[in-house]
Every structure is written in C-alpha cells, then in structure tokens.
C-alpha cells in the first residue's frame, strides 16, 4: 500500500471515532435553553428533556433544608419552584435577586430539579446597553439588590 493511502485510512478511522464520540457526547449532554413561560407551554415534553432555565431568584425564597436548597425562580409574573441537591457548592453570586441559570429536569408535579446552578450578580454595574446609560444616577444608588 502506498504511504498516502495508509495515512488516509488511519486519518479517516481517527476522525470517524472522534466524530462518533462527539455525536454521542452531544446526545448525552445537550440541554435546551428555555424561559419559564416556554417550559409552561411545553407540557409533557418538558419532563423528557434536560433544560436550562433562566430567571431571577425571588426575594426571600431561598431556603436550606438539610442538603437541599429550595427557591423560586421568577420571570415577570411567572414563578417556578426549584430544588437543588447537587454536590457542587452554590456559587457565591447566588442570592436573592440574582439572575440564575438552572440546569436539570422537571418532575410531574411541576418542581424543577436542578443539577447545576449558575448565577450572575444582578447588582453588577455594567448594565445591558440601552438599559441604563452611565451618567444618569450616581453609582451608589444603583447598587441595591
């Protein structure tokens, strides 16, 4: 066999294996981004997929019961109950009013079981463009959260 052919065969087999691993990995870990209202509309489908839902942590809703953490995620007027019992400690930025992303699955009772929680501090000064222009208020007043 010519070296180039051999090399080509090896290459194809390596790329093939990796492609297979990649496809498998995607299936294992794919997570659908959705909002709380979309989860509501999904109905039964919501229980079959891994979801990543974003929202704000409702004020005063965080409760620690043993190893579990219960809280409510809200988006405008919609609410969703979340239970977290993962191993990783909650991020320091996770607290009342923070924007949180929760990863996990819905159960049939409508409670979301999160396996992972990411949180961004809502009080961060850098607002989205167009939201608050710098110069409108002194910084200190915008820090309340």
């Amino acid at each position: 066999m010519k070296p180039l052919v051999k090399f080509g065969l090896l290459t194809v087999s390596i790329i093939g294996t990796l492609g297979w691993l990649a496809a498998d990995g995607v299936n294992q870990s794919k997570t659908y981004y959705s909002t709380i209202s979309e989860v509501g509309q999904m109905g039964k489908d919501a229980q079959e997929r891994r979801l990543r839902v974003g929202g704000d942590v409702a004020e005063g809703s965080i409760q620690r019961l043993g190893r579990e953490v219960h809280f409510t995620l809200m988006q405008d007027s919609l609410r969703m109950k979340v239970v977290y019992a993962g191993i990783d400690p909650l991020p320091d930025t996770f607290r009342d009013g923070a924007q949180a992303l929760v990863d996990g699955r819905m159960d049939s009772a409508g409670t979301f079981h999160a396996q992972k929680i990411q949180a961004k501090c809502a009080s961060k000064y850098e607002a989205k463009p167009g939201q608050v222009k710098p110069g409108y208020e002194p910084v200190n007043q915008k820090r309340a959260s």
Binding site: L21, T31, P89, D92, C121, E126, Y136, V139, R143
Partner: protein, 671 residues
C-alpha cells in the same frame, strides 16, 4: 484628565491610520522616507497609549470616581494591587490593555527589525497597525474608558465606587488577564510576518526563522495565562475544579491548541521544507482565534459566568474577522506557487507522519471545542432551538484526544525521519512498554479499574521513560567522550541542542500535568453539618470543627471556621476556610482552605452556618494528585526557557535551501 486620556487615544488612532497609509504608499511609490516615518508613527502610538493607560491607572489609584470606569471597578478600601488590576477588570480597561500591549509589541518589532527585511517590514507594520486601529476604533468611539459619570446632571461628587468584583480580588487573578493578553496579542506578530512574506512573495521560510522565538515566548505567556486561570478557579471558586469548559475558558484554549500545532509543524518546514501552506494556515487561525476569543469574552454572544456585559462591539469584531480571513485566504490562494512542498511523505512509520498525526489530532480537538462552544449559536440558527452542550461532551471527545497526544509525545521523538524499521521501534519501545504494563498491572492489583485513569497513568510512565532515556543516552555519550559526571553531562547535552532537550522538558511537564488530571478519577467529597467540637471523616482524615470566628476590616466582613485535621489520631494541621462579605458590593465570597500535598489535596469550603448558628456547614473534598498539574506547569515553564537559550552548536539541516529566485525580482507590489 479624562479629556487628555481620550485625546491620547484619538491621536493614537490618527497615527495608527497614518502608519498604515504611510507604509503602503511608501512601498507603492518607493519612498523610503515615508516608510521610515510610518515606522516612527508606531512609536508615537505606543507613547500615546502609554500615556492614556497611565492616566487611567492614575485615576484608579487616586480614586477619581467621576470616571464611570473607575466608579464601576474600584473603590477606596481596595488594596493598591487590586486598584491597579482594575485596569483590566472591566470591558473598556481591558480593551485599552489589549491595545497598549499590541502597541508595545509593534514598537519592539519595528525597533528590532529596523535594519532588516526592508521589503517585508512595511507590510508587517501595516498588518500590526490595522489590528491596532481596529482596537483603537473600539476604545475611541464605542466603549471609551474615559467616560465621565453624570456630566451636566447636577451631580458633583461620587463618594465611592463599586469596587472590583470580589472574586477577582486574588493574586493569580491580578496577573492572569495580562498574561493571557500577552499571549493573545503576541500572536499578531508572527501572523504579521507571515502575511508580510506572503504579500512580498518571499519563499516560505524567512518569516518562520524570524518569528520562531517570538512564537515560543507568546506560547509561554498563553500557557501561563491559562494555567493561572485554572489555578484561580481551583483556589477561589470553591467547587474544587480547575477547568469547566466554560466558553471563555475555551476561548483561551482554542488559539493555544493551534499554536501548539504550529510549534510542532514548523519543525517539518525547517527540516524538510514541507507543510508551508499548512503553517501559514495555522498561524493565521491562531491569530483569528485570538481575535475571536476576545470577541467571545467581550460581546456576550454565548452566555458564560465570565462574560462581561452584553455589548454592541460584537459586530465590529465580526466585520474585522470576516475581512481579515477573506484577505488571508485570497493571499494564500494567490501565492500557492511560493509555498510548494520540497519533499513528500514516504512512510507511515516516520517522524513526519507522527507530526502529521499530532497536528490532525490537535486540530480535531480545536474543532470540537469550537463546535461545542458555539453549539447554542449554531443550533439556534439551524433548528430555532437554543441547545447547549457542556462538560460531558467536551470530556468525551477530548480525553481520548489528550491520551492519544500523550502517546505521540512518547513515540514521536523516537521515530526516525523519513522511515523507521519495525525492528528499531521494538528496541526503542520495549523497556517503556514493559514499565507501562507493569504499572497498569500494579494499579489493577491495588483495586483500581478506572479505564481512563489506568491508560493515562500507564502512558505517563511510558512517556517519562522515553524522555528520561533520551537524556540518559545523550549524557552517557558525552560522559564517555569528555569524562564529565552525569549531571554536568546532561546540562552540556541540553546546552548543545536547547530546542530539542527543552522540548523534552516541556513534554515531561505535560506528563506531570496528565498525572494531575488522572487524579480527578479518584476525587472524594462530602458535605456535612457538624456541631462545633465534633468530628467527621473524609478519606483518611478526621476533621474537627474547633470554633467559629467573626471580624471585619475596611474591605470586607469575615467569618471563619477553624478545623483541625487529624490522620490516624495524630494532629497534622489546622485549616481555616472563610466566608467574606464585601462591603461595597454586598457580595459574599468563600475563601477555601487547602492542604496541598503531592499525593493529595485536602480542600475545605465553609458553606455557612445552620439557621440557629450552632452548626457549621462544611464541604470537604479530597483531590488526589492535583498538585502535579502545578508542578507540571513549572516544568513546562522551565522547558520553554531552555528552548529560548541559544544552542551552543548551530544546528545543520541536511537539506538544500531554496534560494529565492523570484523574490529578487523587483516588482512593485499593489496592495
């Protein structure tokens, strides 16, 4: 002051534009003085940006809270180091840092090459300045670091600022961004030389010889940046991991992968005159991935824990990337004749082919990381649903890739150029293979059956053996000839061919890192709620919470637990994990406490107290072997430094140099 700063940036922008036009027109019209003045303009850009950066840093240190940037990222009670680090703590400042580093590099390039490469340099200058001007457009017109708060709104005083994000108030975090930027920005230089040599139709090698050292230094900075970030995540974020496949981490890894591929495939070009197109493609990919990485961090197109605010600058980056990639592709396709390979692949069992596999595999890894990172964007575009993939996907693809690369690290250097006989391979690999199988057998006898961990540790022994054998053989030869003892003989050996033996050291460092990565298969964790004075157990440690203390300083309020660590009844230390509440940002952070040892780390996080305050919630982890990652990092650094030392004996390549016949023809280059 803010006016002066903004003026400096604006003037730098003008000088940058002048430098581009001056270099190109100077070459086109053959006006050496115009070219010279455009190179002087590069120094002016540097001086202006240095002034602007100085002003911003002064504002941060002096607490000039009228400036929006200072108010958002600094406050009075922060230690001076972090006030200084706030320079790169936010969007505007970090773009200024980018621009300043680039201008510094450009000034160094222009200065060191002032009497060389008269044909290529104008284009090198122009390429660097185009990038420079792009960043100056951003900080001059889109996200100015000298924005003043509350102009004309009747507010005369802003008493204090928000302070730097407490998570960033940690020493490695203070140096991680500049390191990463030194790496990111540094790849513009080899790219500029590559482009310069393409435009002026130089035969493929000139730019590689000039920028080889530069690429190694840049690669080193990038490596430092990535690993400092990993070290920071481990010591600060409280979850005990060092790598989470977060989009921003991936963004720093992508150019590192292509740069690593480049450092290897360059050897093919130097020694065999092969892969010239490929090398240009690799260095261009590295440069564009650096820009892409900056865009990913700055524009918020994919959600990430790190991402700075959503901002409008993403589109500017897209335009820059599109134009840059189009121009580079055109140049490569147009100049294909100058990039012909001088030899061919002769055998699958050869050094050439091991380099090819190394490149193939690195590129596959790069592609998978890029694909995974952009998956939400791509899936939203194709199916309308935003789907993300996370750690399991990346691990599934990249662990086998990593192990295969580790194997090549051991095998590659021992295979001969052109072709290797099966017999010689048997001789070279018999001993290390036996060592590998012995270790795997031993571990299995000890009850360890984790597949990847076994393969990884086995390969570590294999590679370490081959590397050690190379040093041993070389040193033994010198010893026999010059009568030196073993250690001086090894130093002498390394000094004779620093790139080769420095490279081996880097490989050894990578082996150590893989030992550290393998440890992750045996991590233990437990979260407990314990009374003060009572004990719990993790791994072989007995932990007793002694007491809880509270206190405050002007920056934060702290609350810590004192935990005694006993092993087999004997007190071996006290750990004090802490929680802090930063006053100005009201943000709590946890300061983990780690007992670092080479065999395993004991890692404690104080998660808080129970509601009535009588119990402490402690998260305890045992991370076996993780310290080897940092040991490996040091070895990689040392190896890289060795590579940079000039070799005692000039290497002689057994290949005929192609003399640039075409390049001597003086054609006016249109641009």
């Amino acid at each position: 002051m803010e006016n002066l700063g903004a003026l400096c940036i604006l003037l730098a922008f003008c000088f940058g534009c002048y430098s581009i036009v001056g270099s190109l027109v100077g070459v086109w019209r053959a006006k050496p003085y115009l070219v010279l003045s455009s190179q002087r303009a590069v120094y002016a850009v540097w001086a202006l940006l240095t002034t602007a950066s100085g002003l911003l840093v002064y504002g941060l240190l002096a607490g000039d809270f009228r400036l929006a940037y200072v108010a958002a990222h600094s406050n009075k009670s922060m230690p001076g180091l972090y006030k200084f680090a706030a320079w790169w703590g936010g969007q505007e400042g970090s773009l200024l840092l980018w621009a300043w580093i680039l201008s510094t590099y450009a000034a160094v390039v222009v200065f060191t090459n002032r009497n060389r490469f008269h044909r290529m340099m104008p284009f090198v200058t122009a390429t660097l300045m185009v990038t420079q001007v792009f960043f100056l457009i951003l900080i001059a017109f889109v996200v100015s670091p000298f924005q003043v708060l509350a102009v004309g709104r009747g507010i005369t005083e802003v008493p204090d600022g928000n302070g730097l994000n407490p998570l960033l108030q940690y020493w490695t975090m203070a140096i991680h961004p500049p390191m990463l930027y030194l790496g990111y920005v540094g790849f513009s230089v080899p790219f500029a030389f590559a482009l310069g040599s393409l435009i002026t139709r130089q035969p493929g090698d000139a730019w590689i010889h000039t920028t080889r050292r530069w690429t190694i230094v840049t690669w080193m900075f990038q490596t430092c940046g990535i690993l400092l970030g990993a070290g920071w995540a481990y010591a600060v974020l409280g979850w005990g991991g060092y790598w989470g496949w977060d989009p921003v981490e991936n963004a720093s890894l992508l150019p590192w992968i292509t740069a690593t591929a480049f450092l290897h495939s360059v050897m093919m070009q130097e020694k065999k005159g092969m892969m010239k197109i490929w090398n240009i493609v690799l260095i261009a990919s590295t440069f564009f991935l650096c820009i892409f990485g900056t865009m990913l961090t700055r524009s918020g197109i994919v959600s990430s824990v790190h991402a700075f605010a959503q901002s409008p600058i993403g589109n500017y980056f897209l335009v820059f990337l599109a134009l840059g990639i189009a121009l580079t592709l055109y140049l490569i396709l147009d100049r294909l004749d100058y990039l012909k390979s001088e030899s061919r692949l002769e055998n699958v069992l050869s050094r050439e082919s091991s380099f090819l596999f190394n490149n193939l595999i690195l590129l596959a890894s790069c592609f998978s990381v890029l694909w995974g990172t952009l998956f939400p964007v791509i899936s939203e575009y194709v199916t309308g649903e935003k789907v993300s993939v996370d750690a399991p996907f990346f691990n599934r693809v990249n662990i086998p890739i990593g192990l295969f690369l580790l194997l090549l690290t051991g095998v590659g250097p021992l295979i001969a150029w052109r072709r290797s006989s099966v017999d010689s391979l048997k001789r070279a690999f018999l001993a290390p293979t036996i060592a590998m199988l012995a270790l795997i057998g031993g571990l299995m006898a000890a009850g360890i059956f984790h597949f990847y961990a076994l393969v990884s540790l086995g390969l570590c022994v294999f590679v370490a053996w081959t590397v050690a054998a190379e040093f041993w053989k070389g040193a033994a030869a010198i010893r026999a000839k010059d009568g030196l003892s073993l250690l001086p003989a090894m130093v002498e050996l390394t000094h004779r061919n620093t790139r080769r033996y420095g490279g081996y050291l880097v490989h050894m460092g990578i082996v150590f890192m893989f030992i550290g990565f393998s440890g992750a298969a045996f991590n233990k964790d437990s979260t407990v709620e314990v009374n003060i004075g009572s004990a719990f157990r993790i791994g072989s440690y007995d932990l007793t919470v002694r007491d809880l203390k509270e206190g405050e300083n002007e920056n934060y309020i702290w609350h810590h637990a004192r935990v005694e660590v006993r092993k087999a009844g004997e007190l071996i230390g006290t750990l004090e994990p802490e929680r802090r509440l930063y006053k100005s940002s009201k943000q709590p952070t946890s300061e983990v406490s780690i007992r670092r040892r080479l065999n395993e780390d004991l890692y404690l996080n104080f998660a808080g107290t129970s509601n009535d305050g009588s119990k402490a919630v402690i998260q305890a982890y045992v991370f076996p072997l993780v310290s080897w990652i940092w040991v490996g990092f040091l070895v990689v650094l040392i190896g890289t430094w060795v590579c940079l030392v000039p070799s005692k004996i000039k290497m002689q390549f057994a290949r005929t140099e192609v003399v640039g016949v075409v390049s001597e023809r003086h054609v006016p280059v249109k641009s």
